[in-house]
Amino acid sequence: MDARQKEKYLREYSAMKAAGKPFFPYAVGKDGLMACIVMIVIILMSLFLGAELGPKADPTTTSYVPRPEWYFFFLFEVLRVIKPPDLVFVATLGIPNIALGLLVLLPFYDRGPERRPERRPVAMIAMLLTIVAMTYLTLLGAFAGSPITIDEEVPAKYQYGKEVAANSGCLGCHKFGENGNDGPGPNLSEIGARLPKQAIERTLDNPTPPMPSFKSMPPEQKKALVEFLGQLR
């Protein structure tokens, strides 16, 4: 906006403001009614949805599939779209920070005087695409289950390791045959063919972020888990 457009906007705005109504009681009344609605919604959500606690946090058993609060799903799910390990930082920090930068700086690159949405097609399409992408990723996160069974048949001696894998939250991020989520982590159906057992154990202790470390897992469980993973091929 140049100086003339700014002056025009301020002049028109002050005319519209002068024709308006006082903040109190007109706008305050609407705000107050809205506040009551917000309060009722929060109270009803609390009454019907409650605030139950899960089992107590236990750093030694990773029996829980890590789930962020729902409004972080869209950030978490970007990891499922971008999979190569070298590019993880693009998904975790790159894209979110670029999006944030674009959001903060919006008024500095969109400086046109036009305010009517129907005359700002680029802005409206950009907003629509953002909303669709965020909704899609959030739904993807909402419907990604927390599976705890692996159907694949294994010899009896690997049975315990299979149970450890199924109950350690691996399926939240990895795929085993037909079970589990495809990403953010790699598919483990044939991991034994790609990595020797020692390397699998090292990866469990010092994994590629964002995977949590399994260093504090009880040794006999970890041994069984490594044996199970090592025979997958």
Partner: protein
């Protein structure tokens, strides 16, 4: 009767320039002056008490000037329900602050006690689970309102001149709200919140150069331990709420200073006809 002495006006406020309260004509009469002097009865003194106190405070703060400017400023014609989303978000924040204070009365930010203290809140404290639930779901309500408020601002082009700075403040408020969601999620210290936070901190650790330092800062060391919980607790309880409160103040100051935007399809010629009615 001698003319009354002029009231002192030490802060030199020009009251004539301030907006007038929108009162019905019946209430527009000037209030009776407060009786002063040696011969006032107790009843007269009591009747004038409220006015005297307000006048005393006003003489020292000029608060009435600020309040009149803030409350009776005009909002442009066409201001509709979409304009209530900002104050609704702020109201949700106030609700979070109040329920959060009550939760803090019972919460123990110690890894061995945190979970038990929240169990105690849920199972034994009067209305404990209700207040806990209000805090938990209030976060969702606040986040949703914030995003809808932002979408409204975007569609109406309200981030454009002269309100650019208020958009920036609003985006920082959005970030701070996300930080509140992230830090608060750990505090109940159940499996779900613990492991989600481990992964969340690891995500920060993947960043180039600063990533590992950021993750170490969040954990309070290289391992997830006792310091992590107290760190998240302090950030959630003191640091970020303070920043949010200050930023809401700045946001509101700019709203009052610049005025709320008019809907973009309103033009002065639409309102020209209405001006005669006022």
């Amino acid at each position: 009767m001698p003319s009354k002495p002029k009231l002192p006006n030490p802060l030199n406020i020009k009251t004539s320039k301030l907006p007038k309260p929108p009162l019905p004509p019946a209430l527009k009469r000037t209030p009776k002056p407060v009786e002063t002097g040696d011969d006032v009865t107790l009843g007269q003194a009591a009747a004038g008490g409220g006015t005297s106190v307000v006048a005393w405070i006003d003489e020292r703060t000029a608060g009435s000037g600020f309040l009149r400017g803030f409350m009776f400023r005009k909002v442009p014609k066409g201001t509709n329900w979409w304009y209530t989303l900002g104050s609704a978000t702020m109201f949700a924040f106030v609700s979070q602050a109040v329920t959060g204070i009550f939760l803090a009365m019972f919460y123990d930010p110690n890894p061995t006690q945190a979970y038990e203290s929240m169990r105690h809140v849920n199972n034994e404290v009067f209305l404990g689970e209700f207040v806990h639930g209000m805090h938990k779901w209030g976060a969702t309500v606040m986040t949703v309102l914030l995003f809808v408020h932002m979408a409204r601002t975007f569609v109406f082009g309200a981030y454009k001149y002269p309100r650019e700075l208020n958009w920036v403040v609003g985006v920082i408020l959005l970030m701070m709200t996300m930080v509140m969601g992230f830090t608060g999620y750990l505090l109940p210290f159940d499996q779900r919140s613990f492991w989600a936070t481990v992964v969340g901190v690891n995500l920060n650790g993947t960043g180039p150069i600063v990533g590992p330092y950021l993750a170490d800062f969040l954990r309070g060391g290289s391992e997830f331990g006792a310091t992590t919980l107290s760190r998240f607790y302090a950030v959630h309880m003191m640091l970020v709420p303070g920043i949010i409160g200050a930023l809401i103040g700045a946001h509101l100051y700019l709203v009052a200073k610049l005025g709320t935007s008019a809907p973009p399809w309103m033009k002065p010629k639409d309102v020209a006809g209405d001006e005669k009615q006022i």
